[in-house]
């Protein structure tokens, strides 16, 4: 890990501001990641950043966050520019490099904006004040007449000015600050709060940007890894003689790991195909996608005993409030339903990729791995463990990556590339094929959700029970004011490898909750919007609902027998509401989403264009999981492991989307990469019901038309 001392040794002259990792108290309770991050809670304290201004005024910011398309490189740059008053062009972010950047737990959970954004504002503000101090000292004037402006400190009385770099010339000044520096309020922002175009966009549109999968080192080989024919199969023995005969290919056989490396990907593929393995299948048959929901529910009692307490907040402990049983017993109306969600795949367009290089130094071997991971420090630790190394000799560098959506938390491809490179004695690049991504990455969990509720004749929800099996505890508690609640998450034995996904289980939980609320509203003959407003206490949630409804024209009858639906949700500090209009044909089962209006409030908006893009992108991605994405599997084999078989949203699937930003400058800026995805599925589900009278309680809702998935 880079220490502050290492860092200070590396950089040259100029001004260095180091923010010592410290707690961000208001945000320490942000939804913790389930399962993947158990045992790391203490690390939420460690959100460091440092900044260097060189003698020519170039600003370099070091942060462990990574850029995956969510636009954080751009918005963090805006935060620094805002406080430091330096031109955006003079600021460069070094991100996700375990040797250069401070430790960071990872880029997930919508934490970068509330936590790193705030830290960088503090670092920028401190640097600005230090520079003003230097100028005051040099000119022997009061600080109060000096301002920072466009990379210079300006004396407002005499109009003389000195560039940031000139102020430090010849010296090295180091300042360590703590987190109690107060940054500017959002109402005073001029650079933050504006739609700065994506930093690095020009390199992307010209093809110059080097993703991990584009990189090349002298003498580099291309790798391929031998895969089992089904999950759980083990390698009995392997004959690699024919592969070794492929010209210039190297076979690496290391325990149960078998792979090849060759000067071109075509030769690597040929060598891999020449390997003759013998596999031992797993002893017991495994559940298939058609029986998975029964399996998850059946296996949950066993699993919850084993995993209790290890699930980052949800756990097996139910949340109980009031007296649910009494409220149900005396209810005017009751409704109990079961909802299910399928496993889905992230399908990042850049598959997992890593480039590994071993170098020999006086002190021993060193390993450098470039890889697109959301958790560079965790991947470094994986490499350390897998290869028996010490952390000081392993460096992980994350180039701006071709997306992740929560799917790139782990380091399997980095470990594989490192094994191949060690065996081949040359740098090796390994890029997973699309099929490997579908078969061997992890998935968004499938789940079963049982919901029960009671509602009074006048439309107040009086009781609420909610049991989620396997899909996760994120956003599991209702945002409605309900006096009697029992809410629980029950871990299960997942037949597939599962993990993080944009929004985690908030999508599944919000789907079940909001579909149920829609049905409750109709049970008491209330308009679904009015019913929600009656049961919501949070003014910000009500505000997004009302904003979306107004722009959508809620209450007006849609054209041509189309249906309309509305849904809302709160998660990770963001409030989302969506209205959808769908054309759904009862006879054929065809569903087309015609238009969507979404309103979102995540506090003070840092970059409106970037935020709109995150919201509409989340909606588009959410349409896939809502209507047609699902992983088919049978006895440990994914049956739809190609893009031709696994349908993702395309141009023709995209409705007209209108996005309303509710810019709350009086509220802290929260993340926006996840929450906008959680309202689209229930809004569409309600609209399908409105159009057809069919209630679909399973995600995806219309994979083979409506008929196949109705209950």
């Amino acid at each position: 890990m880079t220490t502050r001392r290492d860092f200070l040794k590396e950089v040259g002259g100029g001004l260095v501001v180091v923010l010592v990792a410290s707690r961000v108290p208001a945000l320490a309770t942000l939804g913790a990641e389930p399962s993947l991050h158990a045992g790391e809670a203490d690390d939420t304290d460690r959100i460091s950043a440092w900044l260097h201004i060189d003698e020519r005024g170039a600003v370099t910011v070091y942060t462990g966050k990574v850029e995956f398309g969510q636009g954080i490189r751009t918005s963090l740059t805006q935060h620094v520019a805002e406080e430091l008053r330096a031109p955006v062009e003079s600021i460069r972010l070094v991100m996700g490099d375990t040797e250069l950047t401070p430790f960071d737990m990872g880029t997930f959970g919508s934490r970068s904006t509330p936590q790193m954004g705030l830290q960088l504002r503090r670092v920028g503000a401190s640097a600005r004040e230090l520079l003003i101090g230097l100028a005051a000292e040099r000119w022997k004037v009061e600080r109060s007449r000096l301002v920072a402006e466009n990379g210079r400190i300006v004396d407002t009385q005499t109009k003389r000015a000195l560039g940031f770099g000139e102020l430090t010339a010849g010296r090295r000044l180091t300042e360590t600050i703590t987190a109690d520096v107060a940054p500017k309020p959002a109402t005073a922002w001029t650079i933050a709060g504006s739609s700065l175009p994506k930093v690095g966009a020009r390199d992307i549109v010209t093809g110059k940007h080097q993703y991990t999968s584009d990189m090349r080192l002298p003498g580099m080989l291309y790798g391929r890894v031998l895969r089992a024919p089904q999950m759980g199969a083990t390698l009995a023995n392997v004959d690699t003689s024919a592969a070794s005969a492929v010209k210039s290919a190297v076979v690496v056989h290391d325990g149960t790991f078998v792979g090849v490396a060759a000067p071109s990907s075509a030769e690597a593929k040929r060598a891999l195909e020449a390997i003759r393995p013998t596999w031992t299948p797993p002893s017991e048959p495994q559940p298939s996608s058609t029986s998975v929901h029964e399996h998850l529910k059946r296996s949950s009692s066993r699993a919850s005993g084993r995993q209790a307490g290890g699930e980052g907040g949800g756990g097996a402990q139910p949340f109980v409030h009031g007296n649910v049983d009494a409220a149900l017993a005396s209810a005017d109306h009751k409704l109990a339903r079961t909802y299910t969600v399928a496993y889905i795949a992230h399908v990042p367009l850049e598959p997992r990729a890593a480039l590994a290089q071993w170098t020999r130094g006086a002190e021993g071997d060193r390993l450098t791995v470039w890889t697109g991971t959301q958790r560079p420090f965790a991947v470094r630790d994986e490499l350390v463990r897998a290869l028996g190394l010490v952390p000081e000799r392993v460096r992980v560098i994350v180039p701006d990556t071709g997306s992740g959506y929560g799917g790139k938390h782990t380091g399997e491809v980095a470990v594989e590339a490192a094994r191949l490179a060690r065996g081949a004695g040359k740098p090796v690049k390994l890029v997973w094929s699309r099929e490997e991504e579908f078969r061997w990455a992890y998935f968004r969990p499938a789940g079963v959700i049982d919901v029960g509720a009671a509602v009074s004749e006048d439309g107040a929800i009086t009781a609420w029970t909610f049991d989620n099996y396997n899909s996760g505890p994120a956003a599991i508690r209702p945002s409605y004011a309900i006096a009697n609640q029992r809410v629980a998450f029950h871990p299960s034995d997942s037949p597939l490898r599962q993990g993080s996904y944009r929004g985690l289980a908030a999508t599944a939980n919000n789907f079940a909750r909001e579909m149920h609320v829609d049905e409750l509203a109709r049970l008491v003959s209330m308009d679904p919007l009015a019913f929600r407003v009656k049961n919501i206490e949070d003014a910000r949630l009500r505000a997004v609902l009302e904003a979306a409804a107004e722009k959508f024209g809620w209450g007006k009858k849609p054209e041509r027998g189309n249906g309309v639906g509305i849904a809302c949700g709160f998660e990770k500090g963001g409030y989302i509401a969506a209205c959808a209009e769908v054309a759904a044909d009862r006879a054929s089962g065809a569903v087309k989403i015609v238009r969507v209006v979404a309103a979102f409030d995540c506090g003070a908006v840092v970059n409106p264009a970037g935020l709109r893009s995150q919201i509409s992108g989340g909606i588009v991605q959410g349409i896939g999981g809502a209507l047609f994405e699902a992983v088919d599997f049978e006895n440990g084999v994914v049956r739809n492991a190609r893009l031709a078989q696994y349908r993702v949203p395309r141009f023709l699937d995209v409705p007209e989307i209108a996005v309303i930003l509710i810019n709350r400058k009086d509220q802290p800026s929260m993340g926006a990469g996840e929450t906008p995805i959680i309202a689209i599925a229930p809004a569409v589900g309600a609209a399908i019901y409105d159009a057809t009278g069919i209630r679909v309680r399973s995600l995806p809702m219309a994979r083979n038309g409506l008929g196949a998935s109705t209950t």
Partner: protein, 155 residues
């Protein structure tokens, strides 16, 4: 086998198996990594290049077939340091998130605009439907193509 290609206006000789994909030759032999591997089955369009004026999937095109016509990749669109209007429009409309699909999107869009200089929104959506943007920047991509089309209409 020795194959002669015209790539971005430059003659290139490569000594490769003629069955190798144009994509792998561009990326591994000619170090033109702007065209991306996304699926290897012609379903995502990240590898789209122009063969003559036609957009093709370079992951599905044997390199020997690419000798028949000039190849244009994303690296060949800039002219004397000036972006192609569609490249500029992608920047101006924020038509990318992670950017991995962008090269293929731009090449498909350039081809569409060559054959249909003033496309309707419906023509854009249908013409581009073979290209996947997993981040869901489709509305911004449509806007970028429309921007170029409307600029082209100006007198």
């Amino acid at each position: 086998m020795l194959i002669e290609l015209d790539v971005n206006g430059r003659r290139q000789r490569v000594d490769v198996d003629p069955d190798r994909t144009l994509l792998s030759v561009l990326r591994e032999e000619l170090e033109l990594t702007g065209s991306k591997y996304g699926c290897g089955e012609g379903e995502c369009g990240a590898c789209t290049v122009l063969l003559g004026a036609r957009a093709v999937r370079s992951c599905q095109t044997p390199v020997a077939k690419a000798a028949a016509a000039p190849v244009t990749t994303i690296e060949g669109l800039e002219r004397e340091g000036r972006l192609h209007p569609l490249q500029q429009a992608f920047v101006d409309e924020g038509a990318m998130q992670c950017g991995y699909c962008t090269a293929g999107m731009i090449m498909a869009g350039v081809s569409l605009l060559k054959s249909t200089p003033s496309p309707t929104t419906d023509q854009i959506v249908r013409g581009m439907n073979g290209n996947v943007c997993r981040c869901g920047a489709y509305p911004q991509i449509v806007a970028a193509i429309e921007r170029v089309a409307s600029e082209g209409k100006k007198p």
